[in-house]
Symmetry: C2
Amino acid sequence: MTTAHAIADTRHFVRAARQQGRRIGFVPTMGALHQGHLSLMERARRENDAVAISVFVNPTQFGPAEDFDAYPRDLDRDAALAEGVGVDLLFAPRAAAMYPDGATTYVDQAGPIVETLEGAHRPGHFRGVLTVCGKLFHIVEPDRAYFGQKDYQQVAAVAQMVRDLALPIAIVPCPIVREPDGLAMSSRNQHLDADARQQATCIHRGLQAAQACLDAGVSSAAALADVVRQTLLDAGHCTIDYVAIVHPQTLAPVDTVAEPAVALVAAHFGGTRLIDNHLLTPKG
Amino acid sequence: MTTAHAIADTRHFVRAARQQGRRIGFVPTMGALHQGHLSLMERARRENDAVAISVFVNPTQFGPAEDFDAYPRDLDRDAALAEGVGVDLLFAPRAAAMYPDGATTYVDQAGPIVETLEGAHRPGHFRGVLTVCGKLFHIVEPDRAYFGQKDYQQVAAVAQMVRDLALPIAIVPCPIVREPDGLAMSSRNQHLDADARQQATCIHRGLQAAQACLDAGVSSAAALADVVRQTLLDAGHCTIDYVAIVHPQTLAPVDTVAEPAVALVAAHFGGTRLIDNHLLTPKG
């Protein structure tokens, strides 16, 4: 595995691969790799001739009161894990390379995908995500880019960007990877103390309870959201940012779950903010 | 010459060229081609193995009260001119392909390059320019893209975008091409009636008078701008949007022209808005 810090070195590597006719799969990450990330890399490995990943804790997608400084960083550990699943190139740029002095250009979006839920709770977040993804795509020029569905709006926003701006890349959304007790894997899970770690399982329990109620004939989105909310409140010591049930593509709220709809949750557990989601699917 | 209306056909053409190792030069235009455009294509022809141009009157860079509907369009004439200078591919997309229903993503910039002068007089203009150029670059994937310096801020903003977003493209600014009497070539010149056409020569005369005053020892930017402004006013029947003398890179206003500074003009002649500029260069 090659580790590159410079944009020019990364471009050199991927252009050489492309000139050999090799297809490139790309997994952008903020590091602190876990099994969720590794599952993306393994899939990229299966579906492409070369696999590139990036490790960059992108400052522009964090709000001023968020956990940019506390976000876990361990490049040596990340590199070992990536190499273990057959990654060919790890691009770990310095912030000064991604955001040189005087940089003023950004990519942004309008509409519910970026303005509701995470967008409403994290102003500027998706502008930061789209800008850094756009730049990473220009540097790595992948054929396919792999994103985990845990960050549901992120995948939707990036896919929308790729369509709108005609980026020559296929966006591949991949299933959420969970701990045995159902907690969605996240680099932020390592901030949870033992109590909060236990309480946080309520998110997945709540989403599963909503699916069970839907299976049992409850189709009111408000009622299903209340099932999730009540499961979180019962677990105690959590602060809910939102529980929402929305159209899977447009992210517009739905009244009734007659077609598949996505239930999205954001909540704080002992100072750590977690998100998760589940595609509520009515029985056939 | 191949003419393509579909993004997929264009991508197919340029990818085939790249696989043969051919370098692609690109000239984005809004059509109504004149000798200024053709000089860009001729240069692209000399410096690359294949030349692609686009002809697209981009709606998002026109304000609601501007001349989008009146902008001249004649694709057959444009195609004949492009073929005459050796263009290989003419990409003429439909608006629905460039802005499909539900498109919400845009590229924008902050700072004086896009917020002053044209940016102040044409709100949203540069967002439209950057978004369409970003998309065209993703479709055509050129090695080099050629822009005329008449649209001084446009070239600067696009070059800034390419740097900031690490687009793998070299932006090549090219000299303004002028009519024998000095009027900068522009597709909008065809809207001028005989009187306005004659009066419009005052822009270049004013810019040249400023350079002559600088040569004669006048270095005050305010005094040099007044020379331009007075030349325009003396011609009569023109409405000045701005005359400004600014730093060539940052576009910040300068007090004294001790180093090269660019003088920029926008003015209306009989209902037609024209822009022009000149790099004021101190002797020695």
